[in-house]
Amino acid sequence: MGSWAEFFQHLMNGLTLGGIYALIALGYTMVYGILKFINFAHGDILMMGSYIGLFVYNAIRGELLGFWTIIAFFLSMLVGMMFSAILGMAIEKIAYKPLRKATRLAPLLSAIGVSFILSNLAAWMWGTKSKKLEYPFDNSPIHLGDIAVTPHQIMILVVVVVMMVALKLFIDRSRLGKAMRATSLDQDTAKLMGIKVDRIIAITFAIGSALAATAGFLIALEIKVYPSMGTMTGLKAFVAAVVGGIGNISGAMVGGILLGLIETFGVALLGIPYALRDTIAFIILIIILLVKPEGLLGKAEKEKV
């Protein structure tokens, strides 16, 4: 009990869970950064991408062996990502864009509506029974001394790190990333730089949705694919985004990983009953809103008139 190995085990679990939260939280925070709006359909976009990825994987996997099943897995993930990206852009165009000049409540309600429509649509088309996504590899734990790590965990960590580094590079260094930052700082002035703000918003939705689909497909191996798979995970990722400082990219990454660690260690070390695990996130949310409403990395912002 309480050994180093056990601690490392929890750390690994917490980091993988947190990485997943972070990937999803990025979508919330990027959209908020530009539109000051919470896309409550984000979790359902994740679910749709996971379904598509699952179908593609089942179709192409066939009798493939070893290395090739892994290739097929990532290829399916890519298709799921693309699908979610296009879906995210379409939802923005149809359900949010026409409401951009309406009251701030209007797009929020629209998002909740879209969320229900997507999950009901999925239940109607594909049934409510969860569908299993087969591991593309033997997932028995690898033992390194006292520590056991599953290949699934390693894959999650690798994918999360690659995605985060790529996103950070894109935002900080690329031409479009600069345009995204400019748009989030001042839309009017961005337009006067010749930046097509509508296009930047569409790209933001596409990237956020693709990241969510990645997260969904990765956890589907463990939790399976079902119509409401994105709901709780999505909500918790939203909490992570708020904890890190909504609108702040690094904040979403930090908030996500922190939340994963707190949930895991809360159950393992503090003895919080497993059944109450899901409440941890929301208690943290309330504490953050009371103590540091702008989030850990967020800056206290003066309300613009």
Binding site: M82, A85, I86, M89, A166, L169, F170, R173, S174, R175, L176, G177, K178, A179, R181, A182, L185, D186, D188, T189, A190, K191, L192, M193, G194, I195, K196, V197, R199, A202, I203, A206, I207
Partner: protein
């Protein structure tokens, strides 16, 4: 040659008419001043020409094309740039990034690629796009002798430099027409003198300049032609000496004697 022309341009907010049937002409190659008391509608006129606001009625013609009500980004791409009275830099970005953004649309617009493809292309040709934008941005920064501040955040610059940076950023879009909204506001006399030289230098690059300004010394010194707005209406236009002698203008600024 007329570069820009508004005809009966009107912008009303509910019952308040901020700009009323204004005919405003900008001659290519000249420096045009736009003056008038506070609330005369000068900035509203700028906003309606540059696409930040949509006129209630009337038209705006630029290079012979009707640009009334077009998107701000479209108008920018056609060659109109502007600065703001209350400097609107991207404060959290660096000096260099601010000016590079002015080059945004000049890069990577070759093919008619879709959104996803554009994003991917921008990711994989990051270095190349960045170096093209940087090179150009540096050219404009050196125009204002700001090269040494490239990595500073815009918000950390002293006021005068912020004004210059905003002009540099506008110039980076390679406009043929540049609108300056009170560029000398808050400047001391030395800074204002330097600004006058800069504006002349900008004109010598073949860029037509329109400026809103309250500093009469600057306006009378630098402008080839002046338009006066009062209560949203164009009440006079002419050379600085004509404007100085115009009784309507004197009245607008000083009030009627019996008032």
């Amino acid at each position: 040659m007329t570069l820009l022309e508004t005809q009966k341009l009107t912008r009303a907010y509910g019952g308040v008419v901020a700009v009323s049937e204004v005919d405003f002409e900008v001659e290519q190659g000249l420096i045009t001043g736009l003056i008038g008391p506070n609330g005369a509608g000068k900035t509203t006129l700028f906003n309606n020409i540059t696409g930040l606001d949509v006129p209630t009625s009337g038209t705006v013609q630029f290079k012979g094309k009707n640009i009334t009500g077009k998107n701000a980004h479209t108008i920018c791409r056609m060659g109109i740039a502007r600065t703001f009275q209350n400097i609107r830099l991207f404060k959290e970005l660096t000096v260099l990034e601010n000016v590079m953004l002015g080059r945004h649309f000049k890069v990577g617009r070759s093919a008619s690629t879709g959104r996803l493809a554009t994003a991917l292309k921008s990711f994989f040709s990051m270095e190349e796009e960045e170096s093209i934008m940087r090179e150009h941005a540096l050219k404009w920064l050196s125009f204002f002798h700001l090269e040494h501040l490239v990595d500073e955040l815009a918000k950390n610059l002293p006021y005068g430099h912020q004004r210059e940076l905003e002009i540099a950023r506008a110039l980076a879009t390679e406009p043929s027409l540049l609108f300056l909204d009170e560029p000398a506001a808050g400047m001391n006399p030395q800074e204002t003198d330097a600004l006058m030289k800069t504006i002349r230098k900008i004109r010598s690059l073949g860029i037509t300049v329109v400026l809103i300004e309250h500093d009469m010394k600057l306006v009378m010194n630098i402008c080839d032609t002046i338009t006066v707005l009062n209560y949203g209406q164009n009440i006079a236009q002419g050379t600085p000496s004509q404007i100085k002698r115009n009784p309507l203008v004197v009245e607008a600024y000083l009030g009627k004697e019996d008032a």
